[in-house]
């Protein structure tokens, strides 16, 4: 029985061989308990992913993991799928719109560890989620979007093959401009596996989305620069 349940768990994770999958599907067909258990795996998964407090322990347990990896965006589709599965709202600024200065609300790095940091899943914020999935799945990577030069972090330069991609040789950054702000009034940023996504409402009513493997320590300066000159 335990063997079947272990297979069921692997089926849930999509980690069975074809043969094993066929076997367990047959078992499921005739065993309502297995079907119930499979559903409960889904409930547990949803509960865990919904529960914001979980992030604290995850951050600790994954610290070593993040040290080992060298985050580079491989392609947009991967990033989009990553967003969908694991997008986590790490923090959203509560300051008044645009009333940001160097000393107060744009200390992204410290915000992560601050008591104010609220760890929330994004599932409920569908407009934003859709926006991010859309831009990361779109084929707009080759369309230049007139990104202002002063938005680009120091040390980054445009990729000749992709006018929306900037790199410092180690990290990559992409920009996307949207004419609507999706109700976003403060800078929000999200972490999706190796990548960070920054949603930056501009004074002119547009929304700048910057995404890539750029940590808050770099993005902090970039966002300050955008607000100072925007």
């Amino acid at each position: 029985m335990n063997k079947n349940l272990e297979k069921l768990s692997s089926l849930y994770d999509g980690e069975l061989s074809h043969h094993e999958m066929q076997e367990i599907l047959k078992e499921m067909d005739s065993d309502k308990n297995l079907r119930n258990t499979f559903h409960r795996f889904g409930v547990i998964s949803e509960l865990v992913q919904k529960h914001s407090d979980q992030q604290n322990s995850k951050t600790i347990s994954l610290r070593n993991y993040y040290r080992k990896i060298n985050p580079v965006i491989i392609n947009m589709a991967t990033a989009a799928a990553t967003v969908f599965l694991t997008l986590i709202v790490l923090y959203q600024f509560d300051e008044d719109r645009f009333q940001v200065d160097r000393e107060t609300s744009l200390q992204l790095s410290s915000a992560i560890s601050s008591d104010q940091a609220k760890l929330q899943l994004l599932n409920a914020d569908q407009n934003i989620m859709e926006h991010m999935i859309q831009i990361m799945q779109s084929n707009q990577s080759n369309i230049s979007q007139q990104v202002a030069k002063n938005w680009i972090p120091v040390g980054f330069s445009v990729d000749p093959k992709n006018p929306n991609q900037y790199s410092n040789g180690r990290n990559n950054l992409f920009f996307h401009l949207e004419n609507k702000q999706l109700g976003i009034k403060q800078v929000k940023y999200f972490k999706a596996n190796n990548n960070w996504i920054y949603l930056i409402p501009l004074k002119d009513g547009r929304l700048l989305t910057a995404y890539g493997d750029i940590p808050p320590s770099i993005a902090d300066q970039m966002i300050q620069s955008i607000y100072q000159r925007n």
């Binding site: 999509g14 949803e46 919904k50 322990s57």
Partner: protein, 189 residues
Amino acid sequence: MGASNGDKMLIAEIKAGNEVAFEAIVLKYRPKLMSVLIGYTKSRDQAEEICQKTFMRVWQKIDTFKEESSLFTWIYRIGINLAKNEFASSFYKNSKITERLDQEQHDVPQYRSPEIELMAAESESKIMQFIQNLDEDTKTAFSLREIEGRSYDEIAKILDCPIGTVRSRIFRARQLILEFMNQENIFNE
């Protein structure tokens, strides 16, 4: 990222008419889809209705799924499009719905699937506490899978252990959580 290998196999089965494979997909993704739809519609009843329609559409249209996105992304898109259509068709009938569409969502509210809704908040906390108290190896493997969405192969590399161990640890976590939920009578509340 396209559909995962596991989902690809289930999709192939569904395309071949295997209803159990389809049921597996429904069981797997229903809680997540319901959370999304409740968040979108703000109505559990409406979410239930759209959820049903979504999976009916999935069954009908699975042949058109090109596997360029993850399966849930595709299901999500169908669900959201159906929800939008529902809103559009009832736009003039119910002003409350238009308010829902117009309102800004600054608070990033949390919505829950009905299964989780049925749990008392206290039970939910207990479960999360129980997970926190799992042994480190089990908890880490489970977290990498459930929260990070890592494959077993990736987890094995990260934790420097065989894939079979990863599989066992993740299963053990789920088994322990289920046992705890049964002990606490959480599913029967």
